[in-house]
Amino acid sequence: MNTANQLQWVDYIVMIIYFGFVLGIGFFLKRFMRTSSEFLSAARSMPAWVAGLAFLSANLGAQEVIGMAASGAKYGIATSHFYWLGAIPAMVFVGIFMMPFYYGSRARSVPDYLSLRFDEKTRGLNAITFACMTIMSSGISMYAMALLIETLHIFDTPFRLLHLPESWVFHVSIVLSAVIVLGYIFLGGLTSAIYNEVLQFFLIVAGFAPLVFLGLRDVGGWSGLKTNLPPAFVHAWAGMGSPHNNPLGVEWFSLVMGLGFVLSFGYWCTDFLVVQRAMAADSMSAARRTPLIAAVPKMLFPFLVILPGLIALAITRPISNPSATIGDLASRSAQYGGGFMGRVPLTAGGAGSAPTTEKYASTSVPLIPVQTSPTGEVVIDKNGNMQLDYNMIIPQMLLRYFPNGMLGIGLTALLASFMSGMAGNVTAFNTVWTYDIYQSYIRKGQSDQHYLRMGQFTTVFGVLLSIGTAYFAASFNNIMDILQLVFAFVNAPLFATFLLGMFWKRATGHGAFFGLLSGIMAAAIHQGLTLPADSSPGIKGGWITVVTVYPSEMAQNFWTAIWAWTTCFVVTIIISLATKPRLERELRGLVYALTEKQHERSGPWYTRPVPLGIIVLALTLVLNLIFF
């Protein structure tokens, strides 16, 4: 019996228990929410390990989990570059070098730091784009979850029992998730979100570790995986000499600079969604350790989230024909979702031949099903191949390998990660809206109670906006793609601004603002002038005119980021040198050269950031070598 599984009462009980706990934590925390700082900044009271797991978990939305498995099946073990090359070094950097300024400046948010270091217009630009982005991500999470619940028929049984029409499943899922997220954030604010992220971290491990175990067993362990996959899929670095020798379609320079440096540092070091977790830590030392503690499980997460994709591919792939040629793979429309950003477009493109189910002839739904449009037609790419729905790998594996009981745990973990993806964005939106937009530009100088109420009201407002976005995403997929692209442009140059802001005291507000703007412009222009292979001009690029064709969409993304970053870096320096510098005494605590160094000699060595960071980097290097 290898057919898809049906949910039973025990699975629903698991779900109810979990979400009962989630709301319970909110209710319990309600009494502590007396000031705006308690609601929006968790009163800076989190121990390092709690902040650390939340730092990791806030990014670990379901889109990350689902997107990484999808990329694993599309690109193989090279997907781990998003972790071992991208995330980990950036996390070590933000912990050791940047946290002293974020935390030490007493800034309440990342845009708040920009206003302290530069000026109001730089803060405004960052705050407003960030606020839009969080709402959009939260809405997309909500939409994706409702869609998944509908597709997997998770709520069909209870609906039948209650005599409700099945066409309501989508709408009820949206409302239900909104009520739960609203409930626990409205009651417990950021603290509630952080505690629930920690809970979710353990639940994800509890739900996915057995899945990987069973999947690996089924495919015959690591050696079984290797024999069933083309060699390029089990090496992270070996084919990086040329874009035609690896599934990502990139070469090592754009990989290291674009992904490893610009995109990853830009996300992990400047995105308030994650930085907010470290800012909630209870001391400077804890804040600095937060990303380093998060880096340890992060390093191991490829085994939990990428491996299922490889397993699904190995099982689906007919053994008699083990490899599509690499050129074939590289020229796929390699639409990479940027899963590490937690902001993934839902359409996992990527053409391929239809999966054969030789080994599992009795299976009703293959592990990588064919993608169907909302009207139920099979999606065909322009070469006439059926598109595969890589995003269904994790859900289909849960249904295939888990008996009832474990199935409840696995599905709850998936739903929980969707919700924490929403909650993380809503809490970040709350803080940025209340402190950086409302208090800074709309109503200054009110009582703290006023801002506390504003924060609570913003939760309601943010959740309602998310619902609106979810329905918007459901009806205008293309507009969402365009918005995603615009935000990618906005994000790409950010790290240059922060790097210069923190380590070059001469950088000025005008320099930062116009540097950022020109970086965004550079990203847009570069995208408008280039095109990934196999695409037609339009949203994929080339809407000005096509000057260069990249071997893959990922290569195009990386180079867009590199251009944006470099432009921002150079323009910021030039304009800064031409404008009046700020007084040095105003920059104390905000810039490296004018801030006292952190001396953390107290406590055992393993609680100090620098040794911890070195250990983390060394272990990551070892992982890279093992899977070279």
Binding site: M1, N2, N5, V10, I13, V14, I17, Y18, F21, G24, I25, F28, L29, F32, E38, A42, A43, S45, V50, T191, Y195, V198, L199, F202, A206, P210, L214, R217, D218, R400, Y401, F402, P403, N404, G405, M406, I409
Partner: protein, 77 residues
């Protein structure tokens, strides 16, 4: 703020672990385990979750006992 997060984590996983073990024992020879390659993963993994949950509760209680903070922490449970 308030309480030790290890306590609710511990309770949650104790409850979930116990539920899995019980359900796994009730369904010992059920065909549902053909999904998990013939292994009763409910009992096996349920025990792991149960032990993890109990350890978390234990750690939370121990650190509570070491530094008693009467106002907030004691009220929990």
């Amino acid at each position: 703020m308030g309480f030790d997060i290890r306590l609710p984590i511990g309770f949650l996983f104790t409850v979930l672990g116990a539920l899995l073990v019980l359900f796994g024992l009730v369904t010992l020879d059920s065909p549902i385990y053909q999904h998990s390659l013939g292994m009763n993963i409910n009992v096996g993994w349920g025990i792991v979750l149960l032990i993890f949950g109990l350890l978390m509760v234990l750690f939370a209680k121990r650190s509570q006992a070491r530094q008693p903070r009467p106002e907030a922490t004691q009220q929990k449970v």
